[in-house]
Assembly symmetry: C2
Homo-oligomer: 237 residues x 2
DNA sequence: GTTTACACGTCAATGGTGTTGACGTAAGGT
DNA sequence: ACCTTACGTCAACACCATTGACGTGTAAAC
């Protein structure tokens, strides 16, 4: 067996499957995303994907070395979609903020797929384009390279980590998700001020705040701290 | 079958397994954590856990309804361990920092338990204790309640999100993990300065920085921003 | 001390998973 | 029109979580 995967570029012989489908990397990725969107992350198996494509499951191995390679392709597709139509304004803080919120939004919009790929390094074109852009924003804002890199790292990991977390919560089976939300009322709402004074004192605020994602505020904190570092570097722009 | 799980409290008949082990909820959780610690991410399966305990795999279903219940029990144990021995110094920034790093560290040390448990709200005692403590640190530092709650939210979600992300990366099958690390050399190291000037210019810094978790720096940025907000609130302490 | 009930460990089976080697056919280059 | 070989298919392997049936050892009841 060894090398059964042919790079997408140099593919010439596309033979229709028994059921008439003509396979391609793109078609497989799109079908996988659709499968996940409709039937949840658990629905993504080689066998089911093969069935959805109208092909033998093992045909996928002509396009991806293994399921991990397929996963990376899916993850990269999401990164690409997050950037589609994004435009720089020239103000670094505005640009980073919109980029972060976009990444977060697209992952949360595809919860099941996000859970699978949010913590991977794909090295694929969409990903490298995003890295290049974010680094560019920071460097042209005046951050020296060493600092730009550290902030890039914190920024990207923060965006992906929150995205994955919020996506995961959204992708939970309905029963489990409702259970987790109930806990705020049934447990935290009933803790005694004697044993848990701080929770009791802030409970209404807490219950309200925890309903939404903590990301936007966390992002603003990070950007604020970065701005402070920048003004230390170049006290006068 | 239906209800084969008996609550741990009301258990009376403990029959030794063929290999002489006497099972208990506690023993199973501890063995699972040991299995993960010693043999890595892939080692945690019902079959292998059964083998490690010296029992038939299906015996576990007398103690946990399914593997998800088992993993939640493990996650709860982790929250407890993260706080074991933690002491407040009285300096809010130091205390939050050590709490965040502890949470992160304990989750990363037990990757797949973290992946499944980091985005759940359990409402169990270990969890409420942690919430109470963190809120207490912020409120006694002088943050007004509304702000304390928002910062609490950002802080906790960030700690858990990064923890889950780094844990997930660590829980990857060795092949995939090495692949992801290799990508920095094989892809990002070879991008042309023409198409990717910012990556090319900072590559050595980038490759070095991305090897470690972005959390400690992200945490410091967040705490720095919080400190700035505090000094706005109470310009003079 | 003996009997009895049933908790719980074991066995076997089900239906799922990713992955691979062998094989034949049809597509493309010549 | 012929060859080569890419690629879709088939069958098999080894693993996974989960469950119903079964019998035995334990602990309570007498």
């Amino acid at each position: 067996m060894s090398e059964r995967v042919v790079p997408e570029d140099s593919r010439q012989r596309r033979r229709p499957t028994k059921q008439g489908a003509v396979l391609s990397e793109q078609l497989i990725v799109e079908t996988a995303l659709r499968l996940v969107a409709q039937h949840g992350a658990d629905a993504l198996s080689v066998r089911r994907l093969g069935a959805a494509l109208g092909a033998d499951p093992s045909a996928l191995y002509r396009y991806f070395r293994n399921t991990d390679a397929l996963l990376l392709a899916i993850a990269d597709e999401l990164i690409g979609r997050a950037q589609d139509g994004w435009r720089a304004t020239g103000d670094w803080r505005t640009d980073l903020r919109s980029m972060g919120l976009r990444i977060h939004a697209i992952y949360v919009a595809h919860p099941q797929a996000a859970v699978l790929g949010a913590y991977r390094t794909t090295g694929r074109p969409h990903e490298t384009r995003a890295v290049e852009r974010i680094l560019g924003i920071l460097r042209s804002a005046g951050f020296p390279d060493a600092l730009a890199v550290r902030i890039y790292h914190a920024f990207v990991d923060q965006a992906l980590a929150f995205a994955a977390q919020d996506a995961a919560a959204k992708a939970l089976p309905p029963a489990a998700r409702e259970g987790d939300e109930q806990v705020w009322q049934s447990v935290y709402g009933r803790l005694s001020p004697d044993t848990h004074p701080n929770i009791a004192a802030t409970f209404p605020l807490l219950a309200a705040d925890m309903r939404d994602s903590g990301y936007p505020f966390a992002l603003d904190l990070t950007l604020g701290a970065a701005a402070a570092l920048l003004s230390q570097e170049a006290p006068r722009a």
